[in-house]
């Protein structure tokens, strides 16, 4: 088993962190994992993305040609990566930020109004991802949050959790189809 995920959006939307969290959770659950950030122009701004792979066996290339799963938060990223999504793959997109419904045959398209569900849209999207793929347990994610947000930062745990749960709930309610369309 090997899952290849590309996550893309604008700088500041928490794209890298989202990928990092999924990757780390997969490590915790005993998988082999790679996470590669896009490191574009040396300064900030513009689009950014990361590539996450988790698998049961050591991973060859950490670079992803055709992802199984694509998670996008803006239109430029959608346009760039959607054509590369594997046949039979899954697209998650923020249908609050991207208004037109993306078109592509042979893939599952899931719209989640992540940044409407929560200010922490990346966490809401994570919830949706967890609920749909069921490959990573939310418990592992919560455990990591507790590990990372210690001391004074611990106060942010609840709102992160809340966002994740909202994302999960959204899927449970809407099913894993693009409900807004």
């Amino acid at each position: 088993m090997k899952t290849e995920i590309i996550i893309a959006g604008f700088g500041g939307q928490g794209v890298l962190f989202l990928g990092d969290l999924i990757a780390y959770a997969a490590v915790k659950e005993g998988r082999y994992v790679t996470w590669v950030p896009s490191y574009g122009p040396e300064s900030r701004g513009g689009t950014c993305n990361c590539q996450v792979i988790y698998a049961d066996r050591p991973i060859g290339s950490p670079a992803i040609a055709q992802p199984d799963i694509l998670i996008v938060f803006n239109k430029p990223s959608l346009e760039k990566f959607l054509p590369r999504l594997k046949r039979g793959g899954v697209l998650f997109y923020d249908n609050f930020l991207v208004k037109e419904r993306p078109e592509r045959e042979g893939v599952k398209i899931i719209g989640v109004p992540a940044f409407q569900l929560s200010k922490m849209g990346n966490m809401a999207m994570l919830g949706a991802f967890l609920a749909v793929t069921k490959e990573i347990s939310p418990e592992t994610i919560y455990q990591i949050l507790e590990e990372k947000l210690k001391g004074p930062k611990a106060k942010f745990i609840p709102i992160n959790k809340k966002a994740i749960e909202d994302g999960m709930k959204y899927i449970q309610k809407q099913g894993d189809q693009d409900a807004t369309n």
Partner: protein, 363 residues
């Protein structure tokens, strides 16, 4: 031991600290900056610990310096190494170019130290995308004069740590500078890993400049000759040492070569892609194997020579440059097999499928 998850650049720092690094001297540059940043973090966290009256986590790690330039960094490394301490620096391609004079001096004076190059795209300012265009510089010698660096080419985050530790041991053992040559991918990616067990080897350094103290003889570190004869002698000793390293320290990984007719060879990130492609090709029944040099100098010429003498007649070289590593492969193969280069440059790592396709073209 539990699985860790770490960035390649952080693994370098972790490896260095476990190897007992005493001083780090650097200057920021993408995609190597996390090395200096992580060192800064560890160092000042220890200083805070001391202020609180706690014990530092890394008591050996006494000096962290962001220097004014790469040149100052490599010269500080020269000073630290001359003083008998485990020291290192890290940079990326253009910064490493600036260090070439210093590297040549350090090699000449036989000072052990570790230099990390997280390669970016070149030449010039180029890009911060991964390439392997500094192969020649690292392996053949970007500085002046005859010298060699012990060059390790990791291909995973785990090896970023492991090779760093090995380099500290080997450079001390042979009194020779060493380089960790990694592409940008390896520096920037995070990966699951187990922390490598590399015992720290400690070497006496009676040659170090420490102030004479009890010693009767002054220690001087220089490589400077007014007449040829003593220089010939000194260089002969250097050459002997290099031969010894070549005899003892070659490392490589051979994968599924036993019955292979075709050989794929690559180092660093592309070697992972190549390995996966070998598996894909094997599934298709193609008899293909992989050789991955782990040390780029000393280079594993012999395994190539052996393989092409007995069984293999086609070699596919995958590298992220116009073709540099391929020259060493050719020197190993010596015309006994067809050598085909699959160069990717500009910042794109080929996919497993692309490499598979090249293998199939050869099959």
């Amino acid at each position: 031991m539990s699985r860790l998850y770490m960035k390649g650049n952080e693994a370098v720092v972790e490896g260095a600290l476990r190897a007992g690094v005493e001083g780090f001297f650097g200057y920021p540059i993408t995609p190597a900056s996390e090395i200096i940043e992580t060192f800064a973090e560890k160092y000042f966290a220890d200083r805070e610990r001391e202020k609180r009256g706690e014990k530092p986590l890394y008591p050996k790690f006494r000096v962290f310096m962001q220097m004014e330039s790469e040149i100052a960094s490599i010269n500080a490394v020269m000073g630290g190494a001359a003083a008998g301490c485990r020291v290192m620096t890290a940079s990326s391609s253009p910064g490493i170019s600036l260090k070439q004079e210093g590297i040549s001096y350090i090699a000449a004076c036989e000072l052990p130290c570790v230099i990390v190059n997280i390669m970016r795209g070149g030449p010039g300012l180029g890009s911060i995308q991964p390439e392997q265009g500094d192969y020649f510089q690292a392996v053949k010698g970007g500085g002046h004069g005859d010298y060699k660096l012990i060059v390790f080419a990791p291909n995973s985050v785990q090896e970023m740590a492991e090779h760093t530790m090995l380099l500290f041991n080997l450079t001390d053992k042979y009194r020779n500078p060493g380089m960790l040559l990694a592409d940008g991918y390896l520096g920037q990616m995070k990966e699951s890993m187990e922390f490598p067990e590399v015992p720290i080897e400690e070497y006496d350094k009676p040659w170090a400049i420490t102030g004479m103290g009890e010693r009767e003889k002054q220690n001087t570190i220089e490589f400077l000759f007014l007449t040829p004869e003593p220089m010939v002698e000194a260089k002969k000793r250097l050459l002997e040492k290099y031969k010894k390293i070549e005899a003892n320290e070659v490392r490589y990984e051979a994968y599924k070569v036993d019955d292979a007719k075709i050989l794929v060879t690559a180092f660093g990130t592309p070697s992972r892609v190549a390995k996966a492609a070998v598996d894909l090709a094997r599934e298709k029944g193609i008899k293909v194997g992989l050789v991955r040099p782990i040390t780029l100098w000393p280079f594993p010429y012999k395994i190539y020579r052996d393989l092409v003498t007995h069984q293999i007649d086609r070699v596919l070289v995958v590298e992220l440059s116009f073709g540099q590593f391929v020259e060493d492969v050719r020197l190993g193969v010596e015309g006994k097999a067809e050598v085909k280069l699959y160069p990717r440059f500009g910042g794109i790592v080929p996919t497993e499928e692309e490499v598979l396709e090249k293998i199939m073209e050869l099959a």
